[in-house]
Amino acid sequence: MTELQIRNARFKNPVLTASGTFGYGLECPDLFDVSRLGGVVTKSISRKPRDGNPPQRIAETSSGGMLNSIGLANVGVDVFLDQKLPALIERKATVIVNIAASSVEEYCYVLERCEEHEGIDGYEINVSCPNVKDGGLSFGTDCPAVAQITRELRSRTDRFLSMKLTPNVTSIGEFARACEAEGADAVSCVNTFIGMDIDVGTRRPKIATITGGYSGPAILPMALAKVYEVRKAVKIPIIGIGGIMTAQDAIKFLVVGASLIQLGTVLFVDPMAATTVVKGIEEYMQQNGFSQINDLIGALDVTMQPSLVAAGWS
């Protein structure tokens, strides 16, 4: 009832783990069976291993969220393919490999290396990391660059391909349209918002890179509005991301028009959240008479209230 197929990728339910919030999907086997997820989106994989940024990398904020500046620390594509991927396949996970790079060539290289291996269900392309000097946001806020990366990668794979967009742009719909036009199967909306916090005692920033990525329940309304904007801009599926903590939160993204959702920061607090969200979505569908997940996706009712029409808001 919650199954979904996009291109050749099958998702047994709409709940995925967001890149960078569930490691390589192998870190908590005692707690969690990854085959029960709709899919595991890996930590961003780059051509070479990356050390990541110096500490302090994280800070809790007083507003229901956290700042991070991890800096894409990862083992690099060779170690990922040799050591991490086989273990993920053995655990019967649906595997979406997230790729980060600092040049178009590097994106292509990593994807081509992955293409040599069976058991990868698709790719999510990180063109939106706020925490690295090269690549990341410098691509993600440049629409022709996002279009070019999409085009180059599309020509190199028949697998599921989703472009992960930043909300830190004036018009996210324009970026989504570029991805759609160049053949992306989906867009992942959204990566973290740029945020900042300081310690007033020391007057120093709370994280080493001064600004970082802001995530957690505080960003949900902003992320939902971005998904709504993208829904109006494109026809391709959307993967909704941003502050989802509960099944209710996940359903909001589905109703606005996301086909899949990702759990991110919540996994740092409750590694079992994915199980409860999957179950909660199923219960909601039963209670509200939805037999297919597709009927719930985009079920948003924006019929204007008569009083608003009367006031000239039509």
Binding site: G23, C28, D30, P55, Q56, R57, T61, G64, M66, N68
Partner: protein, 262 residues
């Protein structure tokens, strides 16, 4: 590793601004090894948002204790928690103290709430037939939390209100003058500045030093990559305090890479 909702069996202030929470978990108590920690949700809602990481202070049968200062919203909520309420606990986490290798005497050096991992470690080492001494420093006597169960303890206070007047490094110096350094290993936990001063001192005296680090964490299980410490040895620039640590041979890390917690 378990995630459990466990009942609080004791909540007590034990010294000035120092509190102990005790709770019951047969599974976590059975699996825990000294130096490991628990990541505990301060609220069943999401405010405050992240879990808080605390060393396992003591294990008796199926009971575990944590010890903490009240410094913010999360620890204030722990101090208000009542016996019978439940806590959402993830643990035991982290790599335990490194207890392999040759030593027959251990000196456990604590600064303030850095006493956290020491009673559990001391009990464990005594069972292994090691000699154990505690050196415990604080600003003043009222901040020392010792209910008499701390083994062979000497105290250092800045104001001289209890024991040695001065810091734990001075007291360790005195201890070594009294007892010698043969077959000795020092285990330490406390503010980073204290650990660095101890590091210099132990290097000078040729005494091996194992430190238990405090740092801010999110997940506590290696998935967020939020708690790196720079390595002085090996191929990797950073390791994660939550999984590779929090216990390190002092010479393996560059402690100055971690900003102070408070």
């Amino acid at each position: 590793m378990y995630q459990q909702h466990v009942p609080i069996t004791r909540s007590q202030q034990v010294a000035q601004n120092v509190h102990v929470l005790e709770f019951q978990s047969e599974a976590i108590a059975a699996q825990a090894i000294p130096g490991q920690f628990l990541n505990i949700r301060p609220s069943r809602f999401y405010d405050p948002f992240l879990r808080r990481a605390y060393s396992i202070h003591r294990v008796v049968d199926d009971r575990l204790e944590i010890i903490y200062n009240v410094v913010g919203k999360g620890s204030a909520l722990f101090a208000e928690a009542k016996v019978g309420e439940t806590l959402d606990i993830l643990g035991p986490l982290g790599t335990p103290f490194h207890l392999e290798g040759e030593f027959h005497r251990a000196v456990l050096v604590s600064g303030g709430v850095g006493i956290a991992p020491m009673p559990f470690l001391g009990d464990w080492l005594l069972k292994q037939g090691k000699q154990v001494a505690n050196i415990y420093g604080a600003r003043t006597a009222a901040m020392i939390a010792d209910d008499g169960r701390l083994h062979n303890a000497r105290y250092a206070t800045d104001d001289g209100s209890l024991g040695y007047r001065g810091n734990v490094v001075g007291l360790l110096d005195q201890f070594l003058a009294d007892e010698g350094a043969d077959g000795l290993r020092v285990f330490a936990c406390g503010p980073n500045k204290m650990l660095m001063a101890l590091g210099d001192f132990c290097q000078l005296r040729g005494v091996p030093l194992e430190v238990s680090l405090e740092c801010q964490m999110a997940c506590g299980i290696g998935i967020c990559q939020g708690c790196p410490v720079e390595m002085a040895t090996g191929e990797r620039k950073y390791t994660l305090v939550c999984t590779h640590g929090p216990n390190y041979n002092y010479n393996d890390i560059r402690l100055e890479s971690i900003p102070a917690v408070h």
